[in-house]
Symmetry: none
Subunit: 198 residues, 4 copies
DNA sequence: GATGAATGAGGTTTCATTCAT
DNA sequence: GATGAATGAAACCTCATTCAT
């Protein structure tokens, strides 16, 4: 009895997800250049050919990780936030959610947040092809500027404050990844907020 | 009659320094894996052979950059700080010096600070051979713990606060490098201190 | 539908054997250091990459030649000898077989015997990884010592006699290789035995 | 007071000899291809330039070792032999001298004999440029043929017997080099003669 | 006579990518 | 849908040789 279309679809998706998950893991742990596809095939228990069957190459794999695992995850986080309130509350909420994700048992949360920030802040990475421009950076910047206009945040370069906050989160995600959730003691969002308040 | 020892010594040192400076620049800008020796030879205007005359390979070049340019620079910074005062003043002084270095016209300051933190915080880098264990991380940690005992800093994981502070500095160095000193507006050290105070 | 496991296995083995045969030939004719992988790829009609697909490097290729072509061949020779008889008959038999192999039309016999003796007698070669310690040297030594105890062989250093006999065989294999089987007139084993008898 | 011509001449010769001795040592121990001039400069405590001052390159260095250290030494050995006697006595004498040299305390004797035979029997070495064609091989061959005509030696390929005898000596020199003179027990020349006698 | 810095051709090794099945 | 053998360009590295002094 031949498989149904749905069954094929499912097999397909499962394999793709295994590859993406593996790639996420390796790209976070070793960095884009240090990852080679051999490592991916070994960890994902698939052939080289299969990766090229689903992705057009190494960069496409990276971009697909960003587009399929990372960005939706970030969007999901943003979706839960009410942007109508005052900027300081928005940011507080955001920090709360993110920190909660980071300190969770599952490593993947931290990986995604780390990779997202790494991609959009650090690397001279070809995210040219990424479907969307870094929403969080812009949003954070705008929020901080709104907070400044609303009189809650201290003046000075908003870009700077943005970098500060995001670098901090990235640093925390990084530590979370490397020391494990048991030893990781997550700072309270209020500590970070202190940097912003007048 | 051969060149004198001093002449050879001088030639050696000059070339080694050019190579190290070039390598510092490239390692910071592109990351260890993305740098290839061809780029180094072109920028340093030397042959492949010469790099291997002075360094045993790419890793040794990286480690030499750390040991010869970065660590001495960090030590120099630390040497200017009085560690006798209360922890909160020590850290304030440290942040002041570092931020001042980062916002200076000369890119190299920011590079060195960035590479130092990157090497000692982020990468699974083979700095096994590095002559000394990351003094700044330990020192920062101890200082923050002292500050906590002295009742000035808020309680919680000292490791966490350390990571916060250092990640922040790294993030700032990073931005400084990428947007240039003209557009870079450096935050005041007091903003960062806010995170630590009770 | 991918190729079956058997198909892959067969392709693998065929290519590996071509490479090993080529390498055997070149290592014998030119010596380890003088062989470069370019020569191997040209003679084996394969890419550089393929050699590294099957072997971890030049040394591994050499060691694989020894382990896969040479040692099994030597074992096969030894397997045909009855070691129960008096030592002088054993050695006589051994010499007979080896000399017969050497003077055969097929060059490979002589190559393997030569390479075996060369590896285990001459070079400061890294045959550390070779699966087994030189059985023939030990066996020859023990046999000669047995022959001495049995009163057939002249006294003196057994090591010396061993070296004499093995060096001789190597020398003969060498000449056989270089002058070709047509011009090669193989000495009778009795001539060599004369050295051993009282 | 400037140095006299003789003094310069002497310095010159001393340096050349150190280089040649070092090269002899290394070429014997590691083989032509595995030796690199860096090793020579280090062991001879001289600069790269100096080697090129006295020799035109690596091959010239090798050939010079053969021509200046090895061939004269072999000639000296031959000069002490009376070729007027019956062939069997000549060969016996020759073997006696060579074996005596090999078992002497000084390694250099064995090195020279080994290198001589290695160069002239084994390697596809560019001894094209060597001033003389291997005298010992021809002489040995002629002697053995004479011995055959004189009715003392067994018939069969004279080339073969020559190879046998010379390979044996080389093998002995090799062992002598590698196990040291203390543990080396040299076979008596009569053992080797046994191979030749009817 | 002597030095050792410097070169560059050629070797070894890695890895993204292709392809027949 | 899937395999892994095979490729080759580009990386890393070595070493005989040159050269200014």
């Amino acid at each position: 009895m031949p498989k149904t279309k749905e069954q094929f679809e499912q097999i397909r998706n499962e394999r793709i997800n295994v590859i993406l998950d593996t790639a996420l893991h390796l790209f976070v742990m070793e960095g884009y250049d240090a990852v080679n596809l051999d490592k991916v095939t070994k960890e994902a228990k698939c052939s080289h050919g299969l990766i090229y069957h689903y992705f057009s190459g190494k960069d496409d794999l990276y971009i697909s990780v960003i587009n399929n695992l990372v960005i939706p995850y970030i969007k999901e986080i943003l979706a839960g936030i009410s942007f109508e309130q005052k900027a300081k509350f928005v940011i507080h909420d955001l920090l709360d959610v993110i920190l909660k994700k980071i300190k969770a048992v599952d490593d993947k949360n931290a990986w995604k947040i780390y990779l997202f920030l790494n991609t959009h802040l650090q690397k001279n990475l070809f995210v040219k092809n990424s479907k969307e421009k870094t929403p969080i950076f812009q949003k954070t910047l705008e929020l901080i500027e709104r907070g400044q206009r609303e009189g809650d945040f201290n003046d000075g370069s908003s870009t700077e404050l943005t970098i500060c906050v995001l670098s901090l989160i990235k640093g925390l995600a990084f530590t979370r990844i490397h020391i494990g959730y048991k030893r990781f003691i997550c700072p309270n969002s209020s500590i970070i907020m202190k940097m912003l308040y007048k």
